[in-house]
Structure formats: structure tokens, C-alpha cells
Symmetry: C2
Subunit: 447 residues, 2 copies
């Protein structure tokens, strides 16, 4: 039986308490911001029938990246690689009961079989935020504003990221009417644009020629060059600029300006990989030279709910990921130092067990998070444990302290010691918590 | 593409916002109680190599109940059916770095392929709480006290549940020295005792006879009857009562008494299904006539960490489940009425969009959770949405309100209306939150 590996499964990660503090901080901040906008928590199952993804999520995701298998009842299922199809299914299932507009969020875990790399693991966590039941640019402006608010709640400013915006209708118009491509060619060209930042310039050019075909290639490449040179909507070729689709984009920019967003810009090359988008698509992009990458994105997907046998419902959403957020915060030096969630470690002297247990109970009734040492080790060993655990305060409890009801309290941060009554001990610890909490009702603890 | 099913995958459950409020309430209460005892959050991956469970979790769980498959890299893996092997692996992996005693907790999701039934779904959520690195009865007493504290934090009293306690060493002594069984027979008898409450009396008798063999059956059945008649440790046959193993149990009962636990009792028939237990095993049992079942359990498992190539570490833990907790709270009428996490719904009158957005921003800066209606519908439709969402307050914002800075606030609970300044509006809503929060730093909201 010996020799089981202690390593986690490939592409996954163990979260030890010190890692988990950071994850809890990020999740709590997400929750705090989206709830302040009136979004409510929901959850969907970990497994869905494979069909749910086959419908609209795109070939690559389904065929190459899902963890899929046949269950003991012969059903073909997948571990969720994303949440958008599941939440669309849930909306369809209770189309009549749900109060629209519905503002829903979820913080959950997902799996994709990809080559593990920095910021991209096989098991990952995402915040999904969606509005259902509102047409027009207002929900899109709200979701983008919320994305911005989330980053700023972590301490980011608008120089640290840019928001790239495009629209699938603009893309479709451009493919069909400006580049003159048929549906199959357009699909290929969209995938090629999507990979543009990741492949060499020559590869992009060669593949574009292949899509256009020899006869149309030279004219097509010229038009693409013109598109790529456009730095704003005003620079776009006239036929695109005057389309209804572009007017929709202009509406959105007006609303974002009203909301005080100054770092959004139109980007005709932005595609977003997933097949289900039908209108606005957007991406938050890190501007840090060492972390110059897409942070998260989203868009409008009006066709998905209707696939589950219900009347269509319009939908806009986004999904910031945990690992990308951690990389962003690390690159910009925005991660706070995190202490243990435990506030007080009780070092117990000989023959003080029962008294210590009673004192701990009383402290807990006052709201203090207290760990009691039950090892009967020497005082210095007990103290060392508290320091290693990064618990801010240590209290020493022996027979004389229990008798005098005055307790020596040591700060592990600066080593200072003072003797306090029960009441002053409690208020000292609760005061620290109030000071260190960034938000008013969060569970995290910032040291 | 039409006709995808809107139902969740068999044995799983969709959590709509109104279901999620209950789940968040239960999770928050769990988190609050275990953190008050100094337990810190951690997490392990969703998938583990199948070997991890094959080692010690028991044949039934591994062969019949795991969701297992071969991944794209030809590794045999399972979706975690429980967390104890994973956390043991994590402790083994950082045996040198972890500060012992380690008090760890996790709230996570799991899957088992079982026949779905009341309180038992294929996808389920559990709180796992464990202490690593302490021998003796103290950690066992702490974990059991914590289980009791968790139920009482939901409003339960000691009459609503009983705690059954046994010890694997007592079981082994009883099987070998009292019933005279060899190892194979003992293993079968343990499984039979474990199923005792679930099978008819005759089936239990017949299977016991089969295990003893014809020659020993009559004497064996008499001894079992004597065991089952024992209502306390004092009633046990003398040879068992005087064993070292029973003295360990007596120690534990002394500590539980000191901790004020009055509803624990020794139960020689309690086995617990998992193979890895090495000492104390216990189970919390609902006493409600309509929900007379095991709520959750746990025990000591000193052998698991050592399987992962590290020096052994002693361990005690338990795992209350979400569905069982929900059934318990429902049966005893302990579930509070839950409102939306959103506190204020903003009904927006014509031409007040921009002013409403600014007001919402100011309210959020004061900590209010506010949803803005962006549909441009009639006032009564907007109001209806707020009521359907169970949001406690509605504010009406039009041009005149924005000018006078006095806002009509309606309570959806009693329909009362009053006109308030910004400051009074904020303090009214934040006061309600303070009143309705059971605990001081939780994220849930009880209406």
C-alpha cells in the first residue's frame, strides 16, 4: 500500500491555508462588488450532458478540452468547462417563474484539458455574472462597468488595464460586406483573427491568403491592413462605419462615458472564441509589461436560452477567472499581506485545561476566533506554532491568570506584550478586525 | 439544435437564487463556527488518481460509487467522493512545513454514483473539519463538541439529536476476543453491523449465522444479543468492559462531560463504513420521528497520511453534509425566512436614468446593495419585479426626487412608505442589516 504519490493530479493545485487566504480574499471581493449591484448567487451542477456544450460552445472546447466520459447509466457527460450553457438551461427551465431582469452570479470551479501554463490550469475557478431579459446597450454597459469596479475594488486604477470592445454584428457585416467572404470563409477568418496575437505575422498572412483564395487574396489583404490600421471607429472604412451594427457600438460607448469609464476602446480585431456570442463582445486586458494578456471577457449571447425549448431570453455576461486575477494583482503589487483567519492562539500552561476551555468558550461568545493548544507541550513550542500559523495574537493561560482574570497578550507581529482584562482583550481583538476589514460584511481578513 | 433538455443531470440539483440563499446561510454558519475554533480553510482538487481511494476508502465506495474515468493522458482518475484521502495526501506532501496541530476545514462538492433518494444526491456538499497531529481523546472531544456547536448555532437544542460513539479498537477486541472471529469473519461482521438498521431482523440473523458457521452460530447469536442489550458501557460483558480500548472511550466521555455535552452515548453497534478509521468513531443522529436518521459522523484515522510516503500523523475529523443539514433544519422548523441579498430596488421614472445611476453609485459607496431597474418599463411592472425577488426595500427615483433629494422608500414586507433624505435612507437600510445578521461577520442575510 506504500508509495501513493503525494502530488496533486496534473494541472490541478492544492490550496494550503496560506494559499486559501488569497483565494478567499479574491472570492469575497468579487461577492461584495457584485452583490452591491444587486446580483444574486446561484449554482448549477458540476456535470452536464455533453450535448449542452456541443450545441454552441465551439468545436475546440468540446472535442479537445472537455473532461468527458460515459457514466454508469450510459449517459455521455462532461465536467463543466464553463457555466454559460448551464445558466442558460436553468433560465429556460424556469422561464415563467424567474423575475426578469434577472441578475445572477456564481463563483465555481471548472475543468478544461489544456496544456497547463502560467495562469491557466486544468482545474480553475471563475466568477460568472449575467443579466437576463434586457435588450439594448444598458446591460452591456452595466456588466463592463462592473468588471471595471471589480478590478478597482482590488486597488487597481484605469491605467493598469484597457477594455477592448467589438460586436459580432460588426464582425459579421465586415466579413460578408467588406471582405466579401461566405459563411464558411467568415468562420475561418474569425478563428484566425482570434489567434492573431498568438501567431507570427507571416503565419497570419499565409492563412489569410488561404482563406481568401488566390484570386481575392491581394485585395483582401489590403482591406485587412486598412482595418488593422484603424485606431478608432472614426478610422473605419466608410461602409462599416455607417452600418447599424456600428451605431450599436456607439450607443454602448456613450453609456460607458456616462459611467465614467475612460479606458475602453473599440477593437475590430477582437473576436472571442466562443460561438454563442451574438452582439457586443469585450475583453479586459492587462497593460503591465510583464503580464500583457487578456484578463477576462464576455459579451451578449441572445440565442442560448432558446436552445433549451423555451422562448428566447436576451443575455449579457462575463467571467473573470481566479488565476488571472491573482497574476494581475501580483504583477501590480496589489495583493495585501494575509494573516490567518484565526485571531487569537491560546497557550495553555499545566493544569489549566478546563479553565482555558471555559475562557475560550467565553471569547467565542464575544465573536473572537480563538484556537486552543491541546498538546500539553512546553510554552515556547506552543508559541512557535502560533507564529508559524501567522495568528496575530497569543494569550498565555495558567492557574494564576485564571485566578486574577488578567491575561498576558502578545502580538506576534511586533512581539509587544500587555496584560489585559477579559473586556479589554475582546475589544482589542475586535477593534483590529474592524480596522483591517476593507469591506463591511466580508469574511476575509487582511493583516 | 432545438430540444436540448432543460433538466439537470440525474442526481444533481440546480440552485436557483432562492435555494442558494439557504445554502449560503448553511455554509456561512459552518464557516463562522469552525473559524471561531481556529480552523483554517484549505482546498484539494476535484479529481484524484483512483488509487488514492482504492487504498483505504472501502470496496463499495471505490467499485460501485465513484465517478471514475481515464483522462486524455491515460490516467485513471475519480471525481472526489470524499475529502479525507485528499487532505491526508496534502498533509503528507508538506509534512515538514505544516504547523502542527493543524486545524483545517473545507466546504466543497463531491460526487457518488448512488441511487438518488431524500437527502442523498449524486452531487453533494460537505464541510470537512480535521485536526492533525494530536493523540489522545482531546481532539476527538473537540471535534464532537464542534459538531454539537454547529447544530446549536442553527438553533437546535440537545433534545433534537443524539451523539453515538464507539471505537474501532473496542470493535476489534469484541470481534476477536468476545465473538471469537478471525480477520475475514470480523470484516464481514463489521459490514453486517453497519447495515443493521437498514435490513430486517431476520436477514441480520441469517447473515450472522452464515458468518459464524453452523458450529459456532448458536453461542455467537447469544453473545450478540447480550451486546445489543447493553444500554451503557456498564452493561457490557466484563471481558470487553475491562479492555484498554474501553478505557479510551471512558476518557473521551469524561472530556465531553466537562465540555457540557449531555446527549452522547456509547453504542457498540456503531461501525462507520469507511475502512480507514483506527480509533473513536461517532455519528450525530436526528431524533425527530420523521427524520430519524444519521446526520453526519467522523472519527480517528491515524493511518492515512503515512500511505503517501510521509511519517504517520494522527488525525481526527468529521464531515457534516449540506442536504442532511437542510433536512434536519426543515424537520425541526429551524430554517429562517430568507430574503434576497439585495437590500434596495431602484424603480426608475422616465428621464431619470443618469441621475439614478449616480444615486446608486453613492448608495453603493455607503455599503448599500442596490439593484437599478434599466428596463424603462412602467412603475408598477418595476415594483412587481422587486416584490417577486423578495428585496426588502424599493425606492422611486424621478426628476423631482433627484431635485428635492428626498426619496419615497417602500417596504415590500408591509407596504409602508416614507420619504427620506439620502442619509436617513442609508442608515435605515444598514440598521436593518445589523438587526438581521445573526453573526457579526457573515455574508448571509436573514429576513
Amino acid at each position: 500500500m506504500a508509495g501513493l504519490s503525494a502530488e496533486p493530479y496534473k494541472g490541478t493545485r492544492d490550496f494550503y491555508p496560506e494559499d486559501m487566504r488569497i483565494r478567499d480574499y479574491i472570492f469575497s471581493t468579487w461577492r461584495h462588488v457584485v452583490e452591491s449591484y444587486g446580483y444574486e448567487a446561484y449554482d448549477a451542477p458540476l456535470l452536464e450532458p455533453l450535448d449542452v456544450y456541443a450545441a454552441k460552445s465551439g468545436q475546440e472546447l468540446v472535442n479537445e478540452q472537455t473532461y468527458q466520459f460515459t457514466d454508469r447509466g450510459d449517459r455521455r457527460v462532461a465536467i463543466r468547462p464553463e457555466l454559460t450553457p448551464s445558466v442558460s438551461r436553468m433560465i429556460a427551465r424556469k422561464r415563467q417563474e424567474v423575475a426578469f431582469p434577472a441578475r445572477w452570479y456564481n463563483i465555481g470551479q471548472f475543468m478544461r484539458y489544456e496544456r497547463p501554463q502560467r495562469g491557466r490550469e486544468r482545474e480553475f475557478w471563475q466568477l460568472n455574472v449575467d443579466i437576463f431579459g434586457v435588450n439594448g446597450s444598458k446591460p452591456e454597459a452595466e456588466i463592463i462597468t462592473l468588471g471595471s469596479q471589480i478590478l478597482q475594488s482590488f486597488g487597481a486604477d484605469e491605467k493598469m488595464y484597457v477594455i477592448r470592445i467589438n460586436n459580432r454584428k460588426v464582425i459579421n457585416f465586415m466579413m460578408a460586406h467588406y471582405l466579401g467572404l461566405d459563411t464558411v470563409q467568415a468562420q475561418l477568418m474569425i478563428k484566425l483573427f482570434d489567434r492573431k496575437g498568438k501567431i507570427p505575422h507571416e503565419a497570419f498572412r499565409d492563412q489569410a491568403i488561404e482563406i481568401f483564395g488566390d484570386a481575392a487574396a491581394s485585395d483582401g489583404l489590403k482591406k485587412i491592413a486598412e482595418l488593422l490600421a484603424a485606431k478608432s471607429m472614426a478610422d473605419l472604412p466608410e461602409s462599416i462605419r455607417d452600418s447599424d451594427a456600428v451605431r450599436e457600438v456607439q450607443d454602448l460607448f456613450t453609456l460607458l462615458e456616462q459611467a465614467g469609464i475612460t479606458n475602453a476602446r473599440f477593437d475590430i480585431t477582437l473576436m472571442r472564441g466562443l460561438d454563442y456570442y451574438t452582439g457586443t463582445v469585450f475583453e479586459f486586458f492587462d497593460t503591465h509589461p510583464e503580464n500583457n494578456r487578456s484578463l477576462f471577457g464576455g459579451g451578449r449571447y441572445d440565442g442560448l436560452v432558446g436552445l433549451f425549448g423555451a422562448e428566447p431570453v436576451s443575455a449579457v455576461g462575463m467571467a473573470p477567472g481566479y488565476s488571472m486575477t491573482e497574476l494581475f494583482l501580483t504583477a501590480h503589487n496589489l495583493l495585501p499581506v494575509m494573516n490567518s483567519s484565526t485571531e487569537l492562539y491560546m497557550v495553555v500552561l499545566p493544569d489549566a485545561d478546563e479553565g482555558a476551555a471555559t475562557l475560550a468558550k467565553e471569547l467565542r461568545q464575544q465573536g473572537v476566533k480563538v484556537e486552543v493548544d491541546i498538546t500539553e507541550r512546553k510554552v515556547d513550542k506552543q508559541l512557535k506554532t502560533a507564529i508559524k500559523k501567522q495568528i496575530p495574537y497569543v494569550i498565555f493561560v495558567g492557574e494564576s491568570e485564571l485566578k486574577s482574570k488578567v491575561y498576558p497578550l502578545k502580538s506576534t507581529a511586533d512581539g509587544s506584550e500587555e496584560k489585559l482584562s477579559f473586556e479589554r482583550l475582546v475589544s482589542k481583538i475586535l477593534d483590529r478586525r474592524t480596522r483591517s476589514h476593507a469591506a463591511d460584511d466580508d469574511v476575509f481578513d487582511i493583516g
